[in-house]
Symmetry: D2
Subunit: 430 residues, 4 copies
């Protein structure tokens, strides 16, 4: 039977009885209690939506991408042939793709990326997702078929996979992927901003595949989708700088990171513990600690829960280079020397990837991506003037101040004084 | 200074420094943790938005309504004159209106209407809002002016107020009001449904005032806004039947009501205690009780938290009359006689007001509302064929079943059997 | 090969190489020069869109409706079985449906309905479309297959057809049809009004079929589509009263009708002549005659081209009964007696069908339409409280005045005087 | 009295009684018969909207820009002071701005830019607009005040004006102007594309002014509007390349240009003749000439009216440099040498300005534009990484072929052969 749910971005999302069962498992239901954007609602009040609806949305988007590719004669045949090498047919591959999409975020910690501070070095939330999927192996294989866990894990893990699975993996998480297409649209919708919209229907319509180097297939687009792809990249850039790295959100991310140190013992090496916690627990925890003045994490909790945040006094452009950053650190040090006994100063580096394509004049090697034009494979960065010139990363540095005694309000005059001072120091520091 | 926040429905919402201070008080910030639609997200996953953004939205909408009325020569002068009687000018009245809009929901219990079961008989969430506003009196009057609390309270309380304040009160909560205009649009946006949209800009554009019977002014509309008003009424009807009284939401409201009995002691007669609790506390509470099998409220908590809900086996039309309802009760009794040892049966009455206007063939007296046409005041219900024929209320009755042992899953066959049985019984019962 | 075009309402519209050829024929290209809404752009400046884009839109909508029905197991099988009786498979039926949709308006006269005054009594623009399709028979059958003309004609003509074709015919023009779904959305889009929007995706999603009385199938909807259907009916009502029968558009329709008398000789009984004329010819004609003062049609042409229109002085409600209309005629006569030597008076009856369903308390028999609920076929009018109470027709009467000498401007005072006089007369006339 | 009209892009547009009179003059009404985008409807069927609605839209947008600037204390005062120098107050300046906006396109020839081929060298459609405005001088000054014509003309003409008028002129036609804001949104709406949308509300919200070099004021934006401005520039780029210079539209522009030679005598030096002609005359003319085989312009008319257009066989990137263009010319010549006896070859240069700002690595000097950040004026191109890297112009070269006998259809094979040949030649030509 076909089940459906109304989604705020994609209209109806359909799912099978088997998928319904997976959705009903507590491990997945827990995502109802993990906000997609942590404390972003302090800036955009509408941003309280959850990983639950995002995960359904990714399942929908990856299916649409796959179906679009399969409906075209040429790419449909290429996919069929490639999957056959590893013994899969299109229907089964689609099932695996959908399941992996659904579960890709199942390992998220409370407050999503905000909580990641407690994951051991070198691990990512994807590793936790994998642990949980492996923990569910028996139940999954009973519902689907033997080996599905292994296939799903390959679509989520970072390391290299069977070349024939790479296309599916790229659909979930690659250069043009269901994950980011969904979150850009969804976050824009709930925040009430226009930044993240792009013509996703046209982009999906223009998808194609080409032969990869190592035997599998690579995602590509037809020439008429190039401006929709540019719009996706710009949407990412705008959402990162305006929402995900908004100056107020960044300061709370700092507090969160500090606070999460107190949770370090809670997650054993076995990541399954993660499923015990969600935003409700973390909020309840803040509240308690915000009252316990003797608690070493009191300050973080108090600031977060009572929205007592630092004020920004200095900000670089969105595209700093190493020199700019060194300079900012210099300004921060000098200001600290002068003011640290009166004020609490803080420096923050907000950074992110805008894209990973090969571009002009960047040290770091980018990924090749192809555009099909007149039946020829052309490099994206030769076809798109916008992307060719678009830096891969942005990196903004900000300096904030606040009173040393957090219950005390810092005056507007003090902030202005430090703002002016920062600009003076900027001129001196080299 | 003008502050602003991005709203998912209205674009930017502006507010003054004084208003910012009120917004920052913990009593208002608490609304960040009260979901607008309780457990509706079990049906519409996007519906996790909060009373916080709604309250800002109502402040914005009521200002737009007031400003629109004031900008027109005739209604602007009438308002000025009417306010003068009670010693107010338009600027002050606007401040009071905005503050009352902002605070009208400040007394909401956890899970909004879901939690209302614990308010003493005869009281409503508006009464709690008033208690809290009175509790804040000193701080408010320091920020604004002496007497503002009293004015704000008059705009929120149900009882009759100074006739000259009635217009402001109606703007917040009347037949065409900022509260419902905001929630219809906002709930639609986050649920992802179209039902609640209507041409609110046109409706506001067509607002006017006429002399009321008791000295104040009544809201009215110009003839060209009549179809926008019809659309508002229909939006309300659709949102009520499709979202607020959705069969799955209603069953959880039943559990919630049952569970809230366990909270009865928490709120003293002094309603100020309400500000201690929000959705986080209630959810944490569910979780605890859902594990305590001996707890008398275990069943409710378990059902709510683990989403184990009854299945609907019978449903009437949306517009039952007393006879239909008696019949449904008869069906319920007869089914209970037969099945209650095997199944847990439950009957639910979902009802709501669609509008309060005077209409054809309804016993209950409706409110007169006027449309201005060719400079004459005409009765709305003579001008609008749609509203004239639209019932004031809907009332749907539903019968649900579930296993007596809630951990046991009821089979699809059992549900089908009872569905058929219900239809058989329906034919017999008179 | 698949061809596509960007449509302002439906996104991309796809069509085959064969369909491309038909689209390229001058008989179809002529629709580029027939505005969808005649002189409505005098009221809504954006309303200059053409029958060309509407016809493509209807082809798209009827395909979506048919495909939706075929994708569902039960209705898909019923359709297959029914078509088999007359020797058609689903693929062929779809081709016929698309072609009939594309060509259904090919017989429209200049200014669409505006020009219909010159069609002989008892004939409609559909009859002209049929004549043109029959004229194209040889070319069509060369492209498609023998007999397609006959099938297409059956889907367009008013008279009863093979019962097995009724479903296809109803998809193009019935109670829920592709034609009106497209024009409501499209006219709203270009006029810039909200009236005509409704959740067409949901409505199409809820389509189903049931066994008809005479052997074929009837369109029906599932219960969850009922509010979308109500919205369609309301959209029709609003668009008719606010746009298609707008008081200013109606007055120009009167002039148009008068002017078209001068074209009577142009169309022989053989309707093929129609393909020689379009809006460009008619406009060029207006302009010429607007300068020829001796021409008996000068006045109409001058008024139309120079936008010298009567002013409305009296208007009834949108739902007059026979008595109201008699009364309006009485008012008109009395005013004419008094004023006709100074002013040019005119009475206009604007009327239209809102729907054809069976409803409460209407003399005229309505069409039965079924809603599928709990696998049972229920009468729409018992399920929908809105439609049950919604009149099938509206009929508004308006009286206009203008100067007898059209170059002379009538004063605002004169208009006001007659307005007041009309209201006085209204009170007297019974 | 306030008059209003419903606009498909901006909702209601309001205008005064005086403006209504101007709108009703035949010189302005003529714009109802000038399509905004000439033959673009051959590619996007919805693109039949007119200069009439665009002109109203520009009046609305320029008012919003001006009002936004005036509402802010600082910029409001600067504007007041600057206008005072030339004896204007804000209210009068607003009137002039609105009138100039309304009339800026009144001199457009049939098919808008398509018809410009017949304007004498060195003249532009703005010059014709000015001629017509001067022709209307007496009537305008009777309605408004003495000297308004002169002020309006200064806002439209290209040459330098009073420095104090420059701000108003820039609002109508500058780097961020009402004209392009309106047409990008409007053309997108009617074509049904997403390319031209940008957050115009935010952009207007962020407008500010700074002291200009020569005494007047310059438009600037506040830092928070920078991404909205980037989006405007990108919207322009996308609309130019995807719509205005679409390969099919360009080929028809070529035919139009050729055809318009036949109209050369029609416009005397006195441009007032222009008001005698519109699209209806031009289309009627095409049709006639398309039948007259002996007419020297028969081929152009036949191609345009019967949509017999060349096929593109070669296309460069959107950002060619001089070398690329020389190369394309080389390819064209070589192909002509080989094929010109069998085919009709044609080379087309589609080019346009994307913006005029100062950017990196462009020879041509750009205009400085300032962003206000921390109360400091910063160069736009230092603040916006996107605009800094965005070329000011695009220039695409295309080669087309068609049969020498236009009634003959060129085969798909022939097109493919020439496409391949063109790519071969491309490799050889340097």
């Amino acid at each position: 039977m076909v089940n459906k749910v109304r989604d705020s971005v994609h209209g109806f999302i359909y799912f099978t009885d088997i998928e319904k069962e997976v959705i009903n498992w507590p491990e997945f239901q827990r995502l109802r209690y993990i906000k997609q954007l942590a404390l972003t609602n302090y800036v955009y009040p509408g941003a309280v939506h959850t990983r639950f609806e995002h995960s359904l949305g990714v399942m929908e988007m990856s299916s649409r991408m796959f179906d679009r590719l399969c409906i075209k004669t040429r790419s449909g045949e290429m996919i069929e042939k490639s999957l056959k090498v590893i013994g899969l047919d299109k229907k089964t591959a689609r099932q695996v793709l959908r399941l992996a999409s659904l579960l890709h975020d199942v390992g998220h910690l409370p407050f999503s990326h905000g909580g990641e501070a407690i994951i051991p070095k070198g691990k990512k939330h994807e590793d936790i997702s994998i642990s949980i999927i492996e923990y569910l192996q028996e139940k999954l294989e009973k519902l689907y078929f033997k080996d599905i866990t292994n296939l799903v894990v390959q679509l989520i893990q970072k390391q290299v996979v069977l070349p024939e699975l790479k296309l599916l993996k790229d659909i979930i998480s690659g250069n043009i992927d269901a994950d980011r297409m969904d979150y850009l649209l969804r976050d824009s919708h709930h925040c009430g901003v226009d930044y993240g919209y792009f013509d996703h229907k046209r982009l999906i319509e223009s998808l194609s595949v080409i032969e990869g180097i190592n035997g599998g297939l690579d995602l590509a687009i037809k020439h008429d989708g190039i401006h929709a792809l540019e719009a996706l990249i710009l949407a990412r850039y705008y959402m990162f700088t305006q929402v995900y790295c908004h100056r107020t959100r960044r300061i709370y991310d700092n507090y969160l990171k500090g606070y999460m140190e107190s949770w370090k013992g809670k997650i054993s090496d076995n990541f399954i513990d993660v499923t015990k916690y969600d935003d409700v627990d973390l909020i309840a925890d803040f509240r308690r600690v915000a009252e316990e003045e003797s608690n070493p994490f009191h300050n973080f909790a108090y600031r977060i829960y009572n929205r007592k945040h630092h004020s920004m006094i200095y900000e670089t452009s969105e595209f700093t280079d190493a020199r700019d950053r060194r300079k900012s650190e210099g300004i921060y040090k000098q200001l600290s020397n002068i003011y640290s006994k009166d004020y609490n100063l803080l420096i923050d580096h907000g950074e992110g990837n805008i894209h990973k394509f090969l571009v002009d004049g960047e040290d770091e090697a980018g990924e090749e991506f192809y555009v099909i034009r007149n039946d020829r494979e052309c490099l994206l960065t030769e076809e798109s003037h916008i992307i060719k010139k678009m830096p891969k990363k942005f990196h903004v540095v900000r300096i904030y101040i606040d009173s040393n005694i957090i219950s005390e309000k810092i005056s507007k005059e003090a902030i202005d004084e430090l703002r002016i001072k920062a600009l003076e120091v900027e001129r001196e520091v080299r």
